[in-house]
Homo-oligomer: 425 residues x 2
Amino acid sequence: MANYLAMSSEELVEEQQKLRVEYQTYKNMGLNLNMDRGKPCTEQLDLSKEMLKMDNYIGEDGFDARNYGVLEGMPEARRFFAELLNADMEEVIVGGNSSLQLMYYLIDLGWRQGFVDSPRPWRHYNALKFLCPVPGYDRHFRITEYFGFQMINIPMTENGPDMDMVEALVQKDESIKGMWCVPVYSNPDGYCYSAETVRRLARMKTAAPDFKIIWDNAYVVHHLTDEQIEIPALLYECQKAGNPERPLTFCSTSKITYPGAGVAALAASERNIRYILKNMMPMIISFDKMNQLRHVQYLKNKEGVLAHMRKHRAILEPKFNLVKQTFAEQLSPCGDIAHWTDPKGGYFISLYLMEGCAKRTVQLCKDAGVTLTGAGAAYPYGLDPKDSHLRIAPTYPSLQELETASQLLTLCARLATIEVLLKNR
Amino acid sequence: MANYLAMSSEELVEEQQKLRVEYQTYKNMGLNLNMDRGKPCTEQLDLSKEMLKMDNYIGEDGFDARNYGVLEGMPEARRFFAELLNADMEEVIVGGNSSLQLMYYLIDLGWRQGFVDSPRPWRHYNALKFLCPVPGYDRHFRITEYFGFQMINIPMTENGPDMDMVEALVQKDESIKGMWCVPVYSNPDGYCYSAETVRRLARMKTAAPDFKIIWDNAYVVHHLTDEQIEIPALLYECQKAGNPERPLTFCSTSKITYPGAGVAALAASERNIRYILKNMMPMIISFDKMNQLRHVQYLKNKEGVLAHMRKHRAILEPKFNLVKQTFAEQLSPCGDIAHWTDPKGGYFISLYLMEGCAKRTVQLCKDAGVTLTGAGAAYPYGLDPKDSHLRIAPTYPSLQELETASQLLTLCARLATIEVLLKNR
């Protein structure tokens, strides 16, 4: 291996032929591996099995969680999530198994009917726009696409979205109704918003009086190092800045206990919460409060959650290290053909290849039996303008599978890079 | 006691004074009883505690229910609900803990976007109407009220809604987009739709090409006698009549296992199901499949459900009998001042008083510490045109509480009747 960028065409072709032989070896292995989604592995799911033995379904106030009622969630569950979300318990609604469904519900509510600070429902505007830090979470973008928003890419930096760009856009365009954010260990880069970014988001002037920040704190306790990064509470910062109705903040236990059967929660200003509950009333009598109690009894509080998350870290850290080490060994020697993020938490690593290499790499992997997240998936409409980004999800495969998959991935990336380099000669 | 209708004014006043003394005795008891909602009692909730010990979360096809995925529900859960809903498993989506939320979702979907057979989204019509058999379920009516439908009362009969009226309305008015139905042991009368009613609903010509029947089979297995009434499957009848996309049918285990933490399901034509799943995709990754498996492992199949429901019946039948007996003892001797339904299943009894007596009866009960369902609650907008209907929910209180509450209720009803009779003299 040597610096691809310094190679002559002949040398590149020689390298290509060598790699093709290697690639054929992988193909002959008949692999069937999946690094597509950020799913916990079986070992992680097993961590929470004691929770299922909880069997007290009477709440602290004597209410029987098995029966109808208490739409806002059991009080101990509201307090539990208030601590995770840096909010007061009156600012919290504890929902069902999906924070995504809560976010969808709120986008739907704004669109159909508006919020407490809306001059009119969003659907009554001729144009609707939403800011999307990129790369980001495909399922966020899909919601706003579904509701017909024009999505505007905002480049991510290590400190969060490009705030100069955000501020410039929102202060002049009333049709920009909100912004998606994964503020801690962002999906997929693993970046954390700086205190400065949080404060600028809270303070910025927005042309839309009902601008909403969807603050998806999906990875708020999902640390992979001893650092345990915490950032300022957006709810509090917005309140201080005089924009209390701006933030809608979320988290869930999907990647703490069970992705299919966790508990999701929403925190916002008390005024927002009252308005949301009033609108939820015709929709549902109550969420699954038995599951809420199960979770609170088992995890207890934030300290209990952090202790539980250390067990996840013990499983995940070696996987992240393996991937980064393979990238370093297999890609760094080839020169400046790729860089990747070094997340201190969360579920993903971003791998950035040379322009035009991402789709081809995914295809080559697929042809050899390894499914990656589709190239472009982390961008609105699935369109990565540079076709350079890959979202790497190291959590689900076993270490051994991950080793094979990472080796193949770097091999495919190098093949794709050589093709692009040769084509551009 | 004698026939109130044959009494002179003096006799009525004398009776009134006697009853007022009795009423004061109740007031002095400082009661605090609730017959407001159709909630299962604690004894019923305890019936399902073995279910919580189920601990296999790997589905029959090897899929780990603890992880993300399988939006349509676990295959064994689809098959389970297909049997309850008289459908094929491909016609079923198994959801979360609330069938009401599924119904809300579908009204929202029709309103926002329309169905497979909609010329345009419902919101694009100048007028939107929905048929509401009355008395009916307040939470149904609240959904269509929330979405701005004009609701049209359809009188209920022992065989279901007045079909002459339904047919006449739907065939001439394109803005009538659907109809709420609780076909078996209707809420609150406990009536069952006849085979003829089901077939007329399936066959009738509707001006709206996308007319939808919301078929809430909430009490499909909630028998209180040996008769176990079954009615023709609407899905099948609609298919046979060439209107396969008309029905959206629902049931849940809310009143089989846990009201707060059961499993809800939807059955409709495969074409509808595909369309609904496509639209649900941006909203949620998957419902709580662990709870789905827990239920299926415990209840097994319809036969298992029916065996479980016999335990509910053993608790509920004496409660229904007590109420009906009290009505017979305390109201029948007073002449034709009231009649009530004699449900063979479900959760409610309808008590019909003389015109103008319902609200007053509820108020009198409340003043003496017994909360009933608000008068008018079973009618759209909470307006009972005759102010005569009371929904009686005998399930939640203990037998002893129910005895006191029923006695007080009949006393209040007689007081209210006398007031009306005297006023009309």
